[in-house]
């Protein structure tokens, strides 16, 4: 079982309040290394220079949306296998299908409870300690 404290996470959402809520939820789950960025372009640069194990990214963002971000991560030879969880709105079934085709590891539908986020992370990493 992986230790949450050993997993480095990048949270990407253009809404400050949402990033803060996700950070709190992750910290409550035992994650210690949680970074965040308001946009995918900054996040991409950041995780290229300082890799993380898990990206949790909103879909609906200006400049570069979540699908474009996912595609950029997957195409990168260094960070291409980073676990990627997408946050979507409830009506975004088509987006989830596109994300699945691009290799997303899982997705979470907003609004979500911390327990739902934990469950989706554990489906990828296994039960967290």
């Amino acid at each position: 079982m992986p230790a949450a404290a050993a997993i480095k996470v990048m949270v990407v959402d253009d809404q400050t309040s949402m990033r803060a809520m996700i950070r709190r939820a992750l910290q409550d789950l035992g994650f210690k290394d949680v970074r965040d960025k308001p946009g995918a372009i900054e996040a991409l640069e950041s995780i290229k220079s300082d890799r993380v194990h898990l990206v949790i990214s909103d879909f609906n963002m200006p400049d570069m949306d979540g699908l474009q971000f996912l595609e950029a991560v997957r195409k990168d030879p260094v960070i291409g296998k980073t676990v990627f969880i997408m946050l979507t709105g409830s009506a975004d079934k088509e987006i989830v299908q596109k994300a699945a085709a691009l290799g997303v590891n899982n997705y979470v539908v907003k609004p979500f409870a911390p327990a739902a986020l934990k469950e989706k992370i554990e489906r990828v990493f296994g039960e967290l300690t």
Binding site: K93, Q97, V109
Partner: protein, 174 residues
Amino acid sequence: MRRVSIVQGENAIVAEPEVLISTLLGSCVAACLYDPVAKLGGMNHFLLGEPGADHRVGMNEMSRYGLHAMELLINGMMARGAMRSRLRAHLYGGGNIVSGLGSIGSSNAAFARRFMADEGIEVAHSDLGGTSARKVEFLAYDGRSRCSRVADRVPELPPIPVSLPSSVGELELF
């Protein structure tokens, strides 16, 4: 003048003149956002969460409903040309008008203020709290709003339960 009425859990976005968005508020909050350059605006109407048996609502529970309501409105406006940095807000509601619900109205109002501060959205006008119900009207194209107190208690609809992910059972990919 065309009128668009919204109820709890809904939002409306308007980019045309002579269209009025309206709602009736009790303990709920309505955020009226507008972009004066793009000439469009929108209003939502939300209650953060259902109080538990002790009439209290957990902060996490409250935040996720409120955050989602705000995100839907802001994303909808941005999809139609608004810019986050230009948004201005008028906030209404958050009255403590129903006995037995504790200070849920105050909690809603506090959330709305905190959200705007965290997101850097200027609050151009606010009328929050108190013990009265309110009728709010918003000319989104012009960014003008008005609020009148309603003498009688607003028959607020029960909170709309947030649906579980529609994808569960339909689109289980993982």
